[in-house]
């Protein structure tokens, strides 16, 4: 199995310690990671996804524009025929005033498989990637 994760910042966000950290965490969990770095516009993100065909796309952003940049990113991904089904998650400090559950629901409605925007983010994310990997292994076996 490919096990490839595409990790990316959002269009307006230049923070990268989150990306450096998540790359290590994902690699330690046995995934291959392509880290696109900071300030990735939706079109570049979608182009890279088409080229690399990742098993999971992880968006990370902490600058407070996540509730605005997230929907634009996933809209572009879903507009590409080959990327209709790839699971996409987002996490970090998404708003400018702490977690906002209503906005997180809007992100799920926009197509994000999971939203990790609070104190439990890393714990839940570890669970998510474990389950996700198991599902895919099971899928490959059957």
């Amino acid at each position: 199995m490919n096990n490839l994760v595409l990790l990316s910042g959002t269009a307006s966000d230049s923070h990268t310690w989150n990306l450096v950290y998540l790359q290590l965490l994902l690699e330690e969990a046995g995934h291959r990671v392509i880290n696109l770095g900071a300030c990735v516009p939706p079109v570049l993100l979608a182009d890279e996804c088409e080229a690399e065909q990742p098993d999971l796309v992880v968006l990370s952003t902490v600058n407070g524009h996540g509730y605005q940049d997230g929907p634009r990113a996933i809209a572009e991904l879903r507009s590409r025929p080959g990327l209709a089904a790839v699971p996409v998650v987002i996490g970090g400090k998404l708003g400018t005033g702490g977690p906002e559950p209503v906005q997180a629901d809007a992100l799920r409605a926009a197509g994000f498989a999971e939203v990790f925007d609070d104190e439990t983010a890393i714990t839940r994310f570890r669970e998510f990637i474990t389950t996700n990997a198991l599902c895919r292994t099971a899928g490959t076996a059957s």
Binding site: A11, S12, D13, S14, T16, W17, L19, V20, Y21, L24, L25, E28, N35, G37, A38, C39, V40, N63, G64, H65, Y67, Q68, R72, K93, G95, T96, G97, G98
Partner: protein, 402 residues
Amino acid sequence: MTGFADAVARAAAAGRLVVQPRMGMASPLEMRAGLLAVRGAGATTVGTLTVDSYTRVGDHRAALTALHDGARLNGYPIVSHHPDTTRAVLDGLTGFPVQVRHGSADPRAIFGALAAAGLDATEGGPVSYCLPYSRKPLRDSVEHWTEACENFSGHLETFGGCMMGQLCPPGLLVALSVLEAVFFRFHGVRSVSLSYAQQTNADQDAEAIRALRVLAARFLSDVDWHVVVYAYMGVFPRTRAGARLLNDNAARLAVRAGAERLIVKTVAEAHRIPTVAENVDALESAAEAAAQAEPEQSFADTGVLAEATALVEAVLELPGDPGEALLAAFRRGLLDVPYCLHPDNAGHTRSHIDDTGRLRWSSAGAMPIPRSSVDRSGPAPDSASLLTALHRVAHLHDARTH
């Protein structure tokens, strides 16, 4: 001298540290209220207008959409607001210096907007506003900053003393701060400030600030300059008491090492964008801590000045103007910022915090740093130890106040 630099010089002559917030909100009314509150704070203050992330990356359409939809922004979109709007924000604030803080590798539109609004102070730099803030090629940033500087007649502060905010050993921070100021000077800027961000050990920081002053005196003798300290720019303490202690310690550091200005951080730093009240509180708390601190004349020399001098000299010896020299230096890895993902950074250096709390090189890549300064005994480069290093300052300050 500009209004901004003049105010700092007057305060310094009176023995007072100037304190300044990081503050920006999308709404002109809130921005104005914030500036008025900063002016009214019980401290020697200058104001800040911090620009939002869309404007920083040049996506003015997204900034306008957010303004239109009433969505919250993490700063004031100075290019999207009409110059008259920004003038109205500043109306009646004559005599109160306001600096525009942005984080843009292409600052031309921002420089234009601030001049149109009658402002004359800003900050950044071709390296420090590219590597940590953009995916644009460094070459483009150098070009844009050249053009911006050549059309600018105000006060310009380098952000080079901060870079990624944390885990960059002081010698490189000092060198980058000096090199960007040399770049500004070369392109006609006559009034500059050099930054240094508080790191993990107060003695190492004081030594670094002294080194910065020595190099500024040597390389910038014909322009007006002062030193600005940033309260810790990495992961901040989560508790109010811890955050306040760290900010107060930054003020003590600034006075101790003879810096003229301090940019504060608030108790909200670890969590969200601060309110105006939290900013005023941080300014007043820092001013109080500063008032009780004393300048020191001498500091232990552990080699920060020698390291910074070697880096600055190695870069300025390269052919071409300071911009060309910076580009060549990054291409060859003579300058190489640890943990920076930007494609134009070589990425061969690593750093760690040693047992005494000082920042050390774990590997110095191709930088002209003596082997004796490299300490290979750092922790394994895994996610857990990275997080421990990033949170060290926060944990210490949270723990000390419990």
